[in-house]
Symmetry: C2
Subunit: 342 residues, 2 copies
Amino acid sequence: MKVENPTSRDIAELAGVSQATVSRALRNSPLVRADTRERIQKIARDLNYFVNRNAAGLRTQQSNTIALLLFDETEGEDAQINPFFLSMLGYITRAAAGLGYDVLISMQQLTDDWHIEYQASNRADGLILLGYGDYVKYHEKLSALARANTRFTIWGPRIDDQPGHSIGCDNVDGGYKATRHLLDQGRKRIALLGSTSRRSPELASRYDGYCKALHEAGIELVDNLRVDAMSSEGEGYRAVLTLLARGEAFDAIFAVTDVIAIDAMRALEDNGYAVPADVAVVGFDDISLAGHVTPALTTVRQDIRQAAEALVHGIVGLIEGTPVESSLMVPRLVVRASCGAL
Amino acid sequence: MKVENPTSRDIAELAGVSQATVSRALRNSPLVRADTRERIQKIARDLNYFVNRNAAGLRTQQSNTIALLLFDETEGEDAQINPFFLSMLGYITRAAAGLGYDVLISMQQLTDDWHIEYQASNRADGLILLGYGDYVKYHEKLSALARANTRFTIWGPRIDDQPGHSIGCDNVDGGYKATRHLLDQGRKRIALLGSTSRRSPELASRYDGYCKALHEAGIELVDNLRVDAMSSEGEGYRAVLTLLARGEAFDAIFAVTDVIAIDAMRALEDNGYAVPADVAVVGFDDISLAGHVTPALTTVRQDIRQAAEALVHGIVGLIEGTPVESSLMVPRLVVRASCGAL
DNA sequence: CTGAAAGCGCTTACAG
DNA sequence: CTGAAAGCGCTTACAG
């Protein structure tokens, strides 16, 4: 009863059946008589036998694996992934496991052909793409993916003629809620920190929401209150310095990501401004840091878990041929101390 | 020149060579004439051909994949992984990629036989285990892994007769440095928050370092200044409440993890104690939150990147048969505001 | 309900 | 330097 690296043949021999029957029994085929099946499964368990994935995959041309590509604009191998995406990872893994899929991770610039290779080499049945980035630049990459018949789903906005499936958050709505809330607190001169470039449609949409809220309140847009900032460390800090240097008065900041917002709060404090007394701050994403900084950051939460599950269902749907709609999730304002409402 | 899902046979046909030669050429075998090799590789590139991993893996009995198991004591599917381990993930992935390995992730309780399955099914060539946990409980799990000839390396302390390879941090040294630093600031009544159970040797070692520093300074241990706390949300907060309820005076806290320390700081503030004026606080791990809370947390840093690389080299060494020593890394005190030294 | 057989796409001795 | 051949361990029509 001791076999080193048992194969289905070994099980077959011990069970006194053919190897084919073993294969069927282990896959719970109804073609096998119940008692035979149980006998075989018991032997397999006793021998610590597990189906060889390479052999099964070669035969079926499937890997039951999803490749998760975390990409980032930021250069350098030391770059930290936005924690928002990192926390999605856990939920993605669990959701995938629930559907019988393994998750292979990779952190890459979206510049190599790496992503195509993954499916072409049968390592993964499909791809999930995660990252805030330059969608104009990605467009050709995504097209290449589509041309290679690679199945993928991407976290982000639905873009016209962008290939592939996507799950996103209603960023306009989120930006609107954030700004509206600041207006409700009586703030009138609300600065906007973050990219407004159409190249980053998710962030730009948050800006659109901001504009919409101001417009609705009859407040004019002030260009001087808008400062570009990327979502990496130090950017929010720099943006506040720029803002202060301009000398344009402001009583609130809406930062398009928490990473920017948290940095901005430090800059404000370092320069003698109290948050929220002098300047109210609202961010976006609700990364775990947000609840822990002082003052705790009011922000717009995207439901990470729901997003992760939608992504996994999306890609598994593509893989298994059950159509899945691209969808948009509704974000929710999380009120904490930094906006002055508490 | 259009083939749907090209195989090495297709390439062979186009190149006018045998399939065997294609296989050799693609693996850069010196057996193939240089010009033949290049011709073949060009065709492969043009066709977007990639070696089928399942077939190659079946043949060679390797997957060139490492499975990364993030386990956690905390119950419930909503449980968040300690950010310390999450940030290791990025470095592990990059280090593995550098050595030609993919990384498969899984979040599990270390209670299933999942981990054995991974190697037995040829999905992974080896395992990296990551998590703070109950080593007594794990011992049997690790033994089962070893019995099944599963190659694994674990982040943690070297434990006598614990099977497998491990990379760890010199936790005694870290605990000593933290406590010593508090003593240097003139603090005398230093509370200890965290597990001292031998079941969590890493955390217990930090406690050992604490004891050592106190002993060296001629200060007696006060049992009442020690409160058990797990490394999950709310535990540090509760621990401070317990401490306050005891009425034992204290002027500093050494928390065995940052997660506990950050929670503790909030509890102190909520109860009218200023950090560091009334109570100095030092944590352990240097999670990214640590630098962002107010006051910024003084802590003991484990070099995540170095750790990740050591883990990857460890497991790859085991896989490829080049012996790798288990090793201990030296942690470093990172002085910020919470200890009162700035 | 079960078995014999083919074949998934590679890698690598073996022979030349 | 190259080719013919075997075989890795499965799954699944096909036949009974």
